[in-house]
Amino acid sequence: MGALGHLASGPGFWPTASMTEFSAHHLVDLFRLFALRLAEARIDLGALDGAIGDADHGNSMAEGFAAVVRATLAAPQDLPGPLMAVAARSFLSAVGATTGPLYASALQAGSRRLGERASFGPEDVAALVGAFADGIAHRGNARPGDKTMMDVWFPAARAVAEAARSGASPLEQLRQAERAAAEGREATRAMIAAVGRAARLGPRSLGHVDPGAASAAILISALREWLEAQVGDPPMGRIG
């Protein structure tokens, strides 16, 4: 009844995008959704990583974002940008390997995007995809095709930029990003790992989805899911 009931209340129930402004509390809520979706995928990500890595990617990502939620909840910080910097530091303290520095850099870049403003809007949520991609690219050495998280972040960022140029709403931009991310994740199956932990397997990595690409796609889906819950605008024929 719940979800259908909401939809039945009609378009007027949803605030329009232009009116919507988010606070630091909303940012914590977004991190909570990241943590929740990663926690749900913990076992699956671990299995993917077990095929070509050390099976800890699900744990690292879930624990990393759980730490982000704890730290941002506790931080006496009302500005979303600086709060995202708190998130970056807490992720870096909780996660090692390359994942820790890469997502810390992503969150740092997200913090710069939000700046010192008192609030942020739906367009900022969509723009986080590009900011995260830039932050990761700045820290890491992976190029497209290397079978890493960048094979999801690059095409997703491109999809957001293209959709934005064509005048799509932030939510539509994120829907495009989600599609590009899913394609990028599946494309890693046909790649041979060139950098990172799986590179040691060489051709033996072929046929497996990269776990870093899979978790990146989960984060991008969560961005879309979160913004959709905030601004509504469910696509036609789609429920829940």
């Binding site: 050390d54 099976a55 996660v95 090692g96 390359t98 520095p101 820290r139 040691r200």
Partner: protein, 330 residues
């Protein structure tokens, strides 16, 4: 393989807990960070601190080299996974005696990133950091691209030399230069006869077929240069020595230090069989073996196999290598 295991997720914490209990005369756990092991002799006021760190599963590396005149603090990572930047930063703080800290670590993507971020974190507190990145694994990249090579058991010589230089009162620049000289003088090669299994994964993520060996294998099972039928110990020893010495190109009469380490599941007696032939080979090339180390110094879980490291010595390296030290592993 059957294992002594409780919960795989607790393996690293339990390893470190047992380690600091067993070696409480030499080391302790950082009160600030349960993933940092600190020498009881650290920090020493006015002396350069020595820090390393890396993934677990290589015991006695990295924690085993914490001690007097050796490594002051070690950042501990998950199995085969770089420690966090925070752990590296806390290790640097624990080793800081006011004269700067040298972080001597292996050339892996995660360690490179986390050490760089740790150095930035402690810079805010006024701690000066110098780094040396070990790249002694010959088969991981051609000599012309040495900066791409991985760090393996040569790291032990790098720590020994760096620790001795710091103990002698060397400045941060001098300690860095000595450690760099040490790793530049090292060449290593690994041969794998059987794979290892990450306990949380439960199956090996690479295979070495029965009767085969992988020459040039890395410390985490990185693919080797050649997969070929296993030969006799003497032939394997000759092959390893040739790979290392061809890359070295040392003049006859050079003095060397030799390290033969098991990868975890190879019996120590087989390491001596290899060493017997290796030393004969070195002598045949006109080399003089100043010191040899044979045993499980740097392992890869239960990988079957061995690594050979040859370090070329000059008078400075020789003197520093001979400086007394005390740690659980050396």
């Amino acid at each position: 393989m059957q294992r002594f295991l409780n919960n795989p997720d607790d393996l690293v914490d339990e390893t470190v807990a047992g380690f600091v209990k067993a070696h409480r005369d030499l080391v302790h756990l950082s009160p600030e960070n349960p993933r940092v092991v600190v020498s009881n002799a650290a920090p020493k006021a006015g002396r350069v601190g020595i820090v390393t760190g890396g993934g677990s599963g290589h015991e006695p590396a990295f924690i085993g080299y914490t001690g007097r005149n050796l490594v002051d603090a070690v950042a501990v990572g998950e199995i085969f996974s770089s420690p966090t930047a925070k752990s590296f930063a806390d290790a640097i703080k624990a080793a800081n005696g006011g004269a700067g800290v040298a972080v001597l670590y292996g050339n892996y993507a995660g360690d490179n990133m986390n050490v760089k971020m740790a150095a930035r974190m402690v810079a805010k507190e006024g701690i000066e950091v110098a780094t040396v990145v070990a790249n002694d694994d010959v088969c991981s990249a051609p000599l012309a691209e040495r900066e791409k090579r991985r760090g393996v058991a040569g790291e032990i010589f790098m720590w020994k030399i760096g620790g001795a230089k710091a103990a002698a009162g060397g400045t941060l620049a001098e300690v860095q230069a000595a450690a760099q000289k040490a790793i530049d003088a090292c060449r290593s090669v690994g041969v794998g006869l059987g794979p290892c299994t990450l306990p949380a994964v439960g199956h090996p993520n690479f295979q070495i077929a029965p009767g085969m060996m992988e020459v040039g294998i890395g410390h985490h099972g990185e693919p080797g240069a050649r997969v070929e039928p296993l030969r006799t110990a003497n032939e394997v020893a000759d092959d390893m020595l040739k790979i290392v010495m061809d890359d070295h190109a040392l003049p006859a009469g050079s003095e060397v230090a030799v390290l033969v380490s098991g990868l975890g599941a190879t019996p120590v007696n087989e390491l001596y069989v290899l060493y017997d032939r290796i030393e004969s080979g070195l002598v045949g090339m006109g080399m003089k073996v100043h010191r040899a180390f044979v045993g499980n110094y740097f392992t890869s879980l239960e990988m079957v196999g061995a690594t050979l490291t040859v370090m070329a010595l000059d008078s400075e390296l020789k003197a520093l290598l001979d400086v007394d030290c005390a740690s659980p592993a050396l």
